[in-house]
Symmetry: C2
Subunit: 330 residues, 2 copies
């Protein structure tokens, strides 16, 4: 079984980590890496992007769903996704972990390796963190990134803009639904959309990452922009596995399930040709799914004839006791 | 009783927070504050300092010990202490919270206000965060700061340097011991040593904040520097309340109790006059407590005649099952 954290001790574990991780923190803009009071990063001239996201055991994942290294990779990607959604790339990351005293020390090693490896592959470095005892495994990853060009907020969408989404939606939610039901499935690791985000930021008027479900995140973008997002039902790139498994229910599921970590963006019509030239370099699919229209910040789901379909308002909300899988029609 | 988080919902709570907190994020170097995917901070020319620290319910505090606003203030100060210990001041902060569904929404409001207010008073801004459901209240605060002058690590102490500590030690640990025993006491809020840290960094060869106990943190500094820290027992500024309550045991308690969040630093003899000139501007007491000597990175406690006293090695360790209040003699 190996030693548990309670046998090793916090400080001994951290000391062992420091000996191992030199290569993780070396290079890039890091002047002082893991092991002092704070990491020191050389400043640049570009706007800094600063965000945090958390994974909590039995809320966002169960430990049996994936090896600790995969969970660590996931913890980095969900935080870095917010940097990509502003048009930036991650520079450095911090990891605050709560871990049970009985957790095998090797599991925590692997979890931290997963975070550090995902950071490294994204061109970033894990430069510090915190370890505390707690009743379950939980991790908050803070990412400092920078924008090489334009910073894109949620607030710039204007009537007439086209709406796009990267990748597909519904596949990650389907896998998690299966895992929650005790069926075999592979816990999805969010895609790394940093490179795509930087490219798309050169033309986007607004951008957000899809974490709570496309419908809900489009609503955040619509409200911030003071415009309405009209999503064309037939254009939504529902993941093939989701379509196969859920049939006619796949669309609504894919719009509300969340966990996709794709980018949702709006592009003014005048920039469509520039966008088309970028597509081959994105490294992922890009689908036009609708357009921005006037009206208060809302989301409308429209059928091919232009009629409005009932749109579920539900998406993931930690504190509302409806199932994240259920949906209400507004 | 008021509404609980489960009645309000994550997104509604965050929306209400955004409406309230404009003034928290305005000003300073913040271009985009709370409410988008990531905060945007204008870059400067100074080295960036990046750190995180966490408070976990029933590990670091109990909810009954203090109002939520005081706990929030504490969460910011323990993280900002690491920036001060590098000679920097905080610019922006992120707050990742886990909160029970049954927590009164007003308690979370007050907790966040405590974080934001402490940040503001330190010249920083709370610019974002994350809220997740969890079995208990836990908060990880990430702070991005910058160094206006020299960055001071733990690793620069050399034989011949003098050792100093700000404030007093043992008072915070005593209060927590009383609270743990169910006796009335005031949960100490860590001091804001940002201004002192920036000044002391102009002369210090090494610096660390005292969070796990002076003996243990001096050990971290000694190991990083490859030198030994000799602490003169009679010079340690034990908090008067601690001395009164514990008598002859006060010194060892104060050296191991932790929670002080004072600064421990070493200063080359050649900079002692510059240090003396700074003292009136520190805003806190500064006490010389020993000196750096050769030898492997260790801590020695010496009596007034130069003899070595038994020094407890214990300090706070999350995963080792000795009481944080007990101590072993090495």
């Amino acid at each position: 079984v190996g030693r548990r954290l309670g046998d090793v001790g916090e400080h001994a574990w951290i000391a062992a980590l420091r000996r191992r991780v030199g290569r993780w923190t070396a290079g890039g803009r890091v002047v002082v890496g893991l092991g002092d009071d704070a990491a020191v990063v050389r400043p640049g001239r570009r706007p800094l992007l600063f965000t945090t996201d958390a994974l909590v055991e039995d809320v966002h994942f169960r430990r049996a769903w994936a090896p600790p290294r995969v969970l660590g990779r996931r913890a980095f990607r969900v935080a870095a996704s917010d940097v990509a959604a502003m048009g930036g790339r991650p520079l450095v990351a911090l990891l605050a972990v709560e871990a049970p005293v009985r957790l095998p020390a090797a599991d925590l090693d692997a979890f931290v390796s997963g975070v550090a490896g995902a950071a490294r592959r994204a061109g970033a470095r894990l430069v510090g963190g915190n370890l505390a005892a707690g009743p379950h495994l939980a991790a908050a990853v803070a990412v400092l990134g920078e924008s090489p060009g334009r910073v894109v907020t949620r607030a710039g969408a204007r009537p007439g803009d086209r709406v796009y989404v990267t990748g597909t939606v519904g596949g990650a939610g389907l896998a998690i639904r299966r895992l929650l039901a005790g069926r075999p499935a592979r816990l999805p690791v969010p895609p790394d959309r940093s490179a795509a985000g930087v490219l798309l930021a050169t033309v986007a008027s607004a951008m957000i990452d899809v974490s709570d479900g496309l419908a809900q995140d489009a609503g955040h973008l619509a409200r911030a922009s003071g415009a309405t997002v009209a999503v064309e039902a037939a254009r939504v790139p529902v993941a093939p596995a989701c379509r196969r498994a859920l049939g006619p229910e796949a669309l609504i599921f894919a719009l509300t399930a969340g966990e996709d970590y794709e980018l949702l963006l709006t592009v003014p019509a005048a920039r469509e040709r520039r966008l088309a030239a970028l597509v081959p370099r994105l490294g992922c699919r890009l689908t036009r799914i609708g357009r921005v229209v006037g009206g208060a910040g809302r989301v409308r789901l429209v059928d091919p004839t232009g009629g409005t379909l009932g749109l579920p308002v539900a998406g993931f909300d930690h504190f509302v006791r409806r199932s994240r899988r259920s949906s209400r029609t507004s």
